[in-house]
């Protein structure tokens, strides 16, 4: 028999001594800050101004993947949701739902990566929760995070703000997160030199807003990929969009993997990219600023907003023809046909 200490037991979630030990030994020291350390029933802090508030649950499988893990993802995802409203993310909650039998060592790795992500993004975890569910009731570890952020004066970013004539910027290459995760799943057996792009984009957004406060829309093309995000924005703003296939940054390995599995990279998830829509006069300036940031180095102007075909996204192909880019329907499944 292996020692019982290195696994999470149901008792770790019972509210008793083991629960306390887990919180006080494994979580709080790592995420330590004055608000959290009080360990009251709720986090108490002062904040005034226009607030943004969001929550998201993370259930990625496998929980470790090239370029990140579920912990980093759970912070970056919520940071990015706030940043896409132009908010500066500040205070976070983290709730862990752990499957009985989960290795403590793996939990520690994830706690550390949560800590690193919060440090990079400059946010604080001020409250949290831990539950343990019987084996089989969850897949290793689920994480829910929520966050609040402050929106600076004068910033008005919304998915419904795109105007005809606006330029569409993309902060870098697409498709890496989705493929990095998929490459780790059973039964596919590819060795793919692709890392998840999972990253907090709030500082990139600050840089971009410094170059132009006129940014109309920001959104991170996560599930459903770039195609789905552009469709959402086109529908919300009741405008059409034209993009250029040639200008969309794409790593060769991503392209190859997509060819192999029959995917279209436009539909593969990203976790560290953003789409920005802004007036044409500011486009170059924001692009240049974007490229100074490590998460925007391969940024590009990929298209523009048009009056025609509201709610529709049309792509100019390499051959100079055009093609309608629809939302993703159904799951992304590898195909052989």
């Amino acid at each position: 028999m292996k020692s019982t200490e290195d696994r999470i037991l149901l008792a770790h979630g019972s509210g008793g001594r083991l629960s306390h030990e887990l919180v006080q030994k494994s979580l709080v020291p790592s995420w330590s800050n004055p608000v959290l350390n009080r360990l009251d029933d709720a986090a108490v802090f002062k904040l005034s101004g226009r607030l943004a508030f969001t929550t998201d649950s993370y259930v990625v499988s496998p929980i470790f993947f090239p370029g990140g893990d579920i912990g980093k993802l759970s912070i970056c995802g919520t940071v990015n949701d706030l940043a896409m409203c132009g908010a500066q993310p500040l205070y976070f909650s983290v709730a862990l739902i752990i499957e009985e039998g989960f290795r403590l060592a793996e939990l520690e790795r994830i706690v550390t990566s949560i800590k690193e992500a919060t440090e990079e993004a400059g946010v604080e975890i001020v409250t949290g929760d831990t539950k343990v569910v019987p084996r089989g009731s969850a897949d290793k570890l689920f994480i829910n995070t929520a966050g609040v952020g402050l929106i600076p004066e004068g910033v008005d970013i919304s998915g419904s703000n795109a105007r005809p004539g606006d330029k569409i910027l993309l902060s870098g290459t697409i498709g890496e997160h989705g493929l990095a995760v998929m490459s780790q799943r059973e039964s596919l057996e590819f060795k793919i030199p692709i890392q998840s792009d999972c990253a907090p984009l709030n500082k990139l957004v600050v840089d971009m807003l410094a170059a132009s406060p006129e940014i109309h829309c920001l959104r991170d093309p996560t599930r459903g990929g770039l195609a789905t995000t552009l469709n959402e924005l086109a529908t919300q703003s009741k405008v059409g969009m034209r993009i250029d296939e040639e200008n969309i940054p794409l790593q060769e390995a991503v392209r190859a993997t997509c060819e192999l599995l029959g995917f279209d990279p436009l539909y593969v998830a990203n976790e560290g990219k953003l789409v920005a829509i802004l007036p044409p006069t500011d486009a170059e300036r924001v692009l240049n600023q974007m490229r100074q940031n490590c998460y925007g180095r391969e940024g590009a102007i990929i298209g523009e907003v048009v009056e025609q075909h509201p709610g529709r996204v049309v792509m100019r192909t390499r051959l100079g023809t055009s093609r309608l880019i629809d939302m993703l329907s159904g799951d992304l499944l590898p195909r052989i046909c």
Binding site: F190, P193, E259, L260
Partner: protein, 72 residues
Amino acid sequence: MCLAIPAKVLSIEGYQAEAEIAGVTRQISLRLTPEVKVGDWVLLHTGYAINVIDEDAAKETLKLLEEMCEVY
């Protein structure tokens, strides 16, 4: 139908081989193409090399295309 893409064979062990496409690698089967040599390009379909790519033919087709299009 029948998605297949060109892959380069890196190493061979019996009927198994390692093939590469733009840095992506996978174990593939050479059961259907035992004549393959290291360095050959194959058409890869569902993990099997279904044919060896004829590099000369590939060049000839491109040349043919160039010639055909010359007057246009």
